[in-house]
Symmetry: C2
């Protein structure tokens, strides 16, 4: 309604020579405004954002337009709608599904009876990024990174060996102790302690054989084939914030995937 609407600017055809029209519908602009609010911390994980009506008033658009923006954000798991209650910022904590990105399941599908994983931090140290790690994290070779190694066990059987690398700067102060003491998903700790929220990830999966140290930690023979799961996790803006390499023992578990 208001003729001056400084926050909503249509980006369409700013210059005639633009080859890509880059037409952006209103609801996408609203979507990115909401995303800015998430990124800036205006609305924090597990909190509720304003109602659709309030947001419509704030951005001077109709409720339907806000709705479509929120629909997309909910589809991307950034927001969670709860009828009658409101719309909430998604979080890796207090999510009844404990590990959102861990696709390893017990073969009998019952993730309940298995109980929570036992976690043991093996190591956590600061070092300089190799070329490969730097590339994955969009850093420069030699930049400071934290390296963490841990083992996850189910029913006292070591099942997952993980090495992970984090850019040192946003995770300043992360120690093995801090990791050991924290109960809950690691990504939940990243949210609450460091304000880093993992939004999506890509994985590359291979079959490999373990080396000696890996055999020791997982208590297996060197002929046991393992799943190698290399993950890059991203925050907002597609910024990579974690490289993780997991070795999964698949005797009693399997990596579960749904295709559409």
């Amino acid at each position: 309604m208001n003729s001056a609407s400084p926050s909503v600017v249509d980006l369409k055809v700013s210059s005639p020579e633009s080859v890509t029209p880059a037409f952006s519908p209103l609801y996408r602009q609203i979507k990115s405004l909401i995303m800015q609010g998430l990124q800036s911390g205006e609305w924090r994980p597990s909190e509720s954002i304003p109602s659709e009506m309030d947001l419509a008033a704030r951005y001077h658009v109709s409720q339907g337009t806000v709705r479509k923006a929120i629909d997309e954000l909910a589809a991307e798991n950034l927001l969670i709608r709860r009828q009658g209650k409101g719309t909430f910022v998604a979080t890796h904590a207090e999510h009844h599904v404990q590990y959102r990105f861990l696709k390893l399941m017990p073969d009998n599908g019952d993730t309940q009876s298995e109980g929570p994983a036992q976690r043991e931090i093996i190591d956590c140290k600061k070092l300089r990024a190799s070329a490969e790690i730097a590339r994955a994290l969009a850093l420069r070779t030699g930049d400071s990174v934290l390296q963490v190694r841990r083992v996850l066990s189910f029913a006292d059987t070591p099942t997952i060996l993980e090495d992970l690398w984090l850019p040192a700067n946003p995770f300043k102060g992360l120690t093995a102790e801090r990791l050991s003491q924290y109960h809950g998903p690691m990504y939940a700790l990243f949210e609450t302690e460091f304000g880093v929220r993992m939004v999506r990830a890509e994985e590359k999966i291979r079959a490999v054989l373990p080396d000696e140290s890996q055999c020791t930690l997982l208590k297996i023979k060197p002929t046991t084939p393992l799943l190698s799961v290399e993950r890059v996790a991203y925050t907002y803006n597609d910024a990579p914030m974690e490289l993780r390499r997991g070795l999964y023992l698949t005797d009693t578990h399997h990596y579960h995937n749904e295709l559409n």
Copy 2:
């Protein structure tokens, strides 16, 4: 236009003692009507379905309601919307992404330079379903199934060994010859020749070591770890129509997955 609209019936609260309200909004009922049209073959793969306006008239609802139904079907990859042209029934054929369900990628990501896979049918025979296969395909033990074995190669390197099992009845007439002669994805052949359209699938992935016959077919040593990918593919109505077990060589390729 007809005032009697027998096809649209609200299912809500048919009996007061129903514990689950089972409230189904209009657009979901429209969605399932459209799905019936797909399943019955009224609209066939790659064809266009009627325009939103036409469907709205047919079902006596507004365009917006039809739109929301189609939105969900498009999100599930059953339909494809093309602005200015119409809405089309998705197909495994003539889909520029050749293998929609195959997540194995060359390590350098360039699926183009690699070219299409060379395919060799090793075997295709009819046999009786084991208990395990029967369970996966929702058949009874001993029912007739077709078993196919084939090898896919990239750049003349055998990379994938696949065994697959199909219920014999819907696939009557499928032979090794038919499979060899067909150029294009197997699921495209299933669509055009047998009217079976695969809609979604579930995979269980493990790391394994090959047995002797597998070594021979893939030309590898018995110590080469392989990805075991066990897939059940479903048609409409969540009816399982294929069990497939792939062994992937992951020296130069990896299984790629996106997490949200």
